[in-house]
């Protein structure tokens, strides 16, 4: 499995090395980065927190599903936690496949799944709000 949570800056070269495959004709890389605003608020940094055990289990499940569904050669994802400044990479996803369509679709699908199923939270550090503001999120499904 190549999907993990990390407190260190994401090494994009290493991520790409993890999906390298001589039978792949396409590799797609997605990077999520810290944006300097949210609606009208000026954001200077974001603090990310995860329930690491459950987050890595959820990411492993997503990895296995996308590899199977799009017949990927390889898939890797890293979500960073801790304090990130504007412009830093918070999440990175790489997918390799024989042809480009599969890698594009798998990458798009995987980031959507990560945002709805992986227990990670972000607090935006916003000018004028002491202590920051937890982003409004979506309740995790399951258990019913």
């Amino acid at each position: 499995m190549f999907s993990i949570i990390s407190e260190h800056p994401i090494d994009i070269e290493m991520l790409l090395a993890n999906v390298k495959d001589d039978s792949a004709g396409a590799t797609v890389l997605f990077l999520g980065t810290v944006r300097n605003h949210n609606d009208d608020d000026a954001v200077s940094a974001i603090y990310y927190e995860a329930y690491i055990r459950m987050a890595e289990e959820a990411m492993a499940k997503i990895e296995a599903e996308v590899v199977e569904r799009w017949n990927l050669k390889k898939f890797a994802a890293v979500h960073r936690i801790g304090n990130l400044k504007v412009g830093e990479v918070s999440v990175a996803i790489a997918a390799s496949s024989e042809h480009r369509a599969e890698a594009f679709e798998a990458g798009r699908y995987a980031i959507d799944r990560i945002k709805t199923e992986v227990p990670i939270w972000k607090k935006e550090i916003i000018t004028g709000h002491i202590g920051g503001v937890w982003a409004e999120g979506k309740p995790l499904a399951g258990g019913d």
Binding site: R53, G137, L140, G142
Partner: protein, 93 residues
């Protein structure tokens, strides 16, 4: 000294993000009384947490409960030393 009666179960409870801030610790040990059936469920835990930390209801924060890293429904029976996690709505990416 009041003795610690066996009608309680002992749980490790982790909390995250805004729930961690309200509770004031990333992890706590909680004793939960057994109900009439002699067990304790996720619903019993939920009631206890909301009683201990009224700020959670005041701020209307939905709580997801994971037991041993799996999302759990209110009927699930929990046991001594299960790893419980209190999860507010998620916002990764």
């Amino acid at each position: 000294m009041e003795q610690q009666p066996p009608q309680f179960i002992t749980l490790k409870v982790k909390s995250f993000a805004i729930l961690r801030e309200i509770i004031g610790a990333h992890q706590m040990t909680l004793q939960l009384p057994r109900n009439n059936q002699g067990t304790a469920t996720v619903a019993d835990l939920r009631t206890k947490i909301l009683e201990l930390y009224p700020e959670i209801s005041a701020q209307r924060i939905p709580i997801g409960v994971a037991v041993n890293s799996k999302m759990a429904n209110d009927k699930l029976i929990i046991n001594d030393f299960d790893e419980i996690a209190l999860l507010p709505p998620i916002s990764g990416g």
